[in-house]
């Protein structure tokens, strides 16, 4: 299909550096959060998002003009961007926050992405945002939806299949919902959040990782975007769930009744 006068797609893929899924997490001694001195890697749902963007390019060929990855995080988050670049993104943006700063909240992230997208114009205008449905560290699942709201765009969340028609500037997305799936037709520009079944991300091969080192990463700060990442929520305390206590076996019904009475259960 040759791209007609319709503009070619610019895809933005926000990714997050979060604690690796295989690591056993622990509450830190101050009980303010989780011990973060552990292995981090790209949020698995964001890997799926990057993979989907790359597959869209493979399917649509010239229909996709650029795939840009963006992350908001401390200096080390640039490794996550390098992974996205190695998987097939063309360029990346790193909105750097200080090492000691708390992780930005979904609303902050959405506002930053909103500001970033507003900066693009003409040929650089973002047409499609593909991002993970949630991050595995906070499990918030809010950023995509908030971003769509701020932008005034449609949102196709929990996508398990995405088909884009560049000429018609629309997409058909199959969503995972309680009880099954739902197919919706959306106009571009659009925010898509990815679910697990969308695809299986490719391995970043070593030659691609080497090439990725040469791809550009633009550095920005919160001030450049006019966004404030100060948290609006205060975490009071983080504790591990109470240790499960084993149950006991009883020998007879009478014993069961006696135990229930001890526990405070009375017959109505």
């Amino acid at each position: 299909m040759r791209p007609s006068a319709a503009r070619l797609l610019n895809i933005l893929v926000p990714v997050k550096r979060s604690v690796d899924y295989a690591v056993k997490i622990r509450v830190n001694p101050q009980q303010t959060g989780v011990d973060l001195n552990v292995k981090h890697s790209m949020n698995p749902f964001d890997e799926i998002a990057v993979e989907e963007a790359v597959r869209l390019r493979e399917r649509l060929k010239d229909g996709v003009k650029s795939i840009k990855a963006v992350t908001i995080g401390p200096p080390k988050a640039s490794e996550t961007l390098r992974t996205a670049l190695a998987m097939g993104a063309d360029s990346a943006i790193h909105v750097e926050i200080p090492e000691s700063a708390p992780a930005p909240e979904p609303l902050g992230v959405a506002k930053a992405l909103h500001a970033l997208i507003q900066r693009g114009d003409g040929e650089g205008k973002v047409d499609l945002v593909i991002m993970g449905k949630q991050a595995i560290d906070d499990d918030a699942g809010q950023t995509g939806q908030m971003l769509a709201g701020l932008l005034g765009w449609g949102q196709a969340t929990f996508a398990s299949k995405v088909q884009v028609d560049v000429e018609k500037r629309e997409a058909v997305v199959l969503r995972e919902i309680d009880g099954g799936s739902e197919e919706i037709r959306c106009r571009l520009p659009l925010v898509v959040t990815t679910d697990l079944r969308l695809n299986e991300p490719r391995y970043a091969s070593l030659p691609n990782i080497m090439k990725a080192k040469k791809k550009p990463i633009e550095k920005l700060t919160a001030a450049d975007l006019g966004v404030d990442f100060t948290p609006r929520l205060e975490t009071l305390k983080v504790t591990e769930p109470p240790v499960r206590v084993g149950g006991g076996k009883v020998e007879s019904v009478d014993e069961l009744v006696a135990k229930l009475k001890d526990a405070g259960f009375t017959a109505a």
């Binding site: 295989a22 001694p29 001195n37 391995y203 070593l206």
Partner: protein, 641 residues
């Protein structure tokens, strides 16, 4: 017309791209796979202290002389430090040479040793005993070797070393024809580089849709820094018979935990080593207790892998060690943060192979430079890395002068000859200057200690002899052998049949002080991508076996279950091996016909639990487990060990 067809069939419909799509039936032949190549000067396998010291030294020489050298370090862990585990008390002597200003930078050697002592444990008591002078730790530091490696990795990258975590050195790139000779004068192929692992190989060893071939690093020198019993190191030692004039290596397994203890019990910088209970006098080994920085304590147990009793379970020995009143007191009210295990070399100088081979060299624990008396190897690992680097640089740029610091008494930039830009260089000078290097001197003084424990007097003989020998600083005219006659795989062969030994009644676990194995393994963060080929292969490549057969598996089960009480199931510190009742399911992929079970049991390998300790390859009595690299990025995710 075609475009309308395309729209109906769907985007997948007509395959116009030139990309070859694999299905799970595409056969996989690693030797025939076409690969991309990268030309480098030095390829280093393993981002541990040895490998990174070599890399850093090479780049320092590049800065000093202006002669370029492209250095690549491959690391199978998902990040640098993820697969490293050690006590660790580190002697900074090598670090002072490599990075003279290290103390002024931000570094992880934050806890100096404040006291050292030794204990003899009985079931109830912990009796103080004098310790050999080598165990005096003045000026040493307690640190997490994982953090030290990560720190060195950062320094290496800043200097321009290309470090690639998540990529395992899987196989060698060999010369097309035999173009070198080994120490015995035979014509052999030379090592021309390293090929990284192929990703996306299915359990049936075919190519999946996500197959991604490894790339070949064509290197003028290949340094193997894989740690104890590395997979490529094992291959190269066998290929070139590097232990022709040396004894086979003997190993120990180190099992470790890191605890945050009750502040009242914490004594920063305290170092304690213990022998005795729970190990009996015939089993070499001992425990340690190191109080690290930030209220953390590293504890562990080393068990010599030449233990005789197949009923022995190193993991359970360690767990019951914690039931001793001394440890109960220490760990009560504490929280366990980390667990891990790794083999370590104990053979010292007697087991040191020839260090160089056509096309490369062995550095660090891959060669085996742990000082068993000091129970330290990091300083020697770094020294061998630096010496190999200087030798390599001198050969890469002959006639260039530089300041050699690794072994200044004996190695100065050599006048070497090289024919072309891509011709491999010889590292023979590394092997020949080693005997007069500081690392050798360090190992010479303690060479007789480990063998002294191999008599029928066991621990007592060893301690008595050590008492004398260490006071003399090893200045005796003899060098004891580990074994009177030369046997291959002595640790495996030392295992007696189960009927000759007494089963050990281990006490039940007492969580949270001691827990079952799976709870511990969960702390390692180990994981291997699902669906990949099992990297623990039941075969004997040294005998020419290149694939797994049901017959070999049956023999394995027959011998291990029948004679050795299912040793692997007891010994593996990650619960990888199980001998389960045969339910008809086939463990060998593709095996429809042949019987692979024996004695009613079959071998199940839960390779996703593997923490890359290499115990199985070393200790299995039938010597038919070959540890190979899994897909890169898998394995444990150590950060505190």
């Amino acid at each position: 017309m075609l475009s309308r067809l395309g729209r109906r069939v769907g985007r997948r419909g007509i395959q116009l791209s030139a990309v070859r799509r694999n299905s799970q039936y595409t056969p996989y032949d690693p030797d025939a796979e076409p690969r991309e190549e990268e030309q480098v000067d030095v390829c280093i396998v393993g981002a541990g202290p040895a490998g990174l010291s070599a890399a850093i030294r090479l780049k320092q020489l590049e800065t000093e002389t202006g002669k370029e050298v492209r250095v690549v370090v491959l690391e199978k862990g998902s990040e640098v430090g993820a697969h490293i585990l050690s006590g660790a008390v580190i002697e900074p002597s090598a670090l002072d040479v490599l990075l003279p200003d290290w103390k002024t930078t931000e570094h992880p050697l934050s806890q100096p040793v404040t006291s050292s002592s030794m204990r003899f444990f009985t079931e109830k008591y912990a009796l103080p005993i004098p310790h050999p002078p080598q165990m005096n730790n003045k000026g040493n530091y307690i640190a997490s070797l994982s953090r030290v490696a990560a720190w060195l990795g950062g320094i290496a990258e800043e200097l321009g070393v290309e470090v690639y975590p998540g990529f395992a050195g899987a196989r060698f790139l060999l010369s097309d024809s035999p173009d070198s000779s080994d120490a015995q004068g035979r014509n052999v192929h030379s090592v021309r580089g390293v090929i990284t692992h192929d990703a996306g190989v299915t359990r049936q060893r075919t190519k999946s849709a996500r197959f991604e071939p490894g790339i070949a690093f064509r290197a003028r020198a290949t340094l193997l820094a894989e740690g104890a019993h590395g997979s490529l190191s094992k291959t190269v030692i066998s290929m070139y018979d590097l232990r022709h004039d040396a004894e086979p290596q003997t190993y120990g397994i180190g099992i470790k935990e890191v605890w945050r203890v009750d502040p009242a019990k914490y004594v920063p910088g305290k170092v304690v080593h213990a022998v005795g209970w729970p190990l009996n006098y015939q089993t070499y080994g001992g425990g340690w207790e190191y109080h690290m920085a930030d209220g953390l304590v590293s504890i562990g147990l080393v068990v010599g892998l030449d233990y005789k009793n197949p009923w022995l379970e190193p993991y359970r020995e360690f767990q019951r060690m914690k039931h001793h009143p001394h440890y109960r007191a220490l760990l009560g009210g504490g929280e366990r943060l980390a667990y891990g295990a790794r083999s370590l070399t104990e053979g010292g100088l007697q087991s040191l192979p020839k260090l160089d081979f056509p096309g490369g060299a062995l550095v660090g624990c891959a060669a085996g430079v742990v000082n068993t008396a000091k129970i330290k190897g990091t300083h020697n690992a770094m020294r061998t890395g630096m010496l190999a680097a200087e030798t390599a640089f001198a050969a890469l740029h002959p006639g260039t002068s530089f300041t050699a610091v690794a072994s200044p008494a004996t190695f100065t930039p050599a006048q070497g000859e090289t024919e072309s830009e891509t011709e491999t260089i010889s590292l023979a000078a590394y092997n020949s200057s080693f005997p007069s290097s500081p690392a050798h001197k360090d190992l010479w003084g303690v060479r007789n200690l480990r063998p002294a424990f191999n008599t029928s007097l066991g621990l007592y003989g060893g301690v008595m002899y050590a008492g004398v020998d260490t006071l003399l600083g090893g200045r005796v005219p003899w060098t004891l052998r580990h074994h009177r006659t030369r046997i291959d795989s002595p640790d495996a062969r030392a295992t007696r049949p189960a009927v000759e030994c007494a089963p050990i009644a281990y006490p039940p676990f007492e969580p949270p002080l001691s827990t079952d194995l799976m709870s511990s393994v969960a702390l390692t963060g180990t994981n291997h991508a699902e669906g990949q080929a099992v990297h623990l292969r039941v075969m004997r490549p040294a005998e020419g076996e290149m694939s797994e057969t049901a017959g070999r598996r049956r023999e394995h089960v027959e011998s291990n279950v029948g004679t050795y009480a299912g040793l692997l199931q007891r010994a593996c510190p990650a619960g990888v091996y199980e001998y389960v009742p045969d339910d008809g399911g086939k463990a060998v992929p593709g095996n429809v016909e042949e019987e692979e079970s024996a004695e009613g049991k079959k071998l199940v390998i839960n390779s996703q639990n593997c923490i890359h300790c290499k115990l199985c390859d070393i200790k299995v009595p039938t010597q038919d487990i070959t540890w190979t690299v899994p897909e890169g990025g898998g394995g444990p995710k150590y950060t505190l060990t």
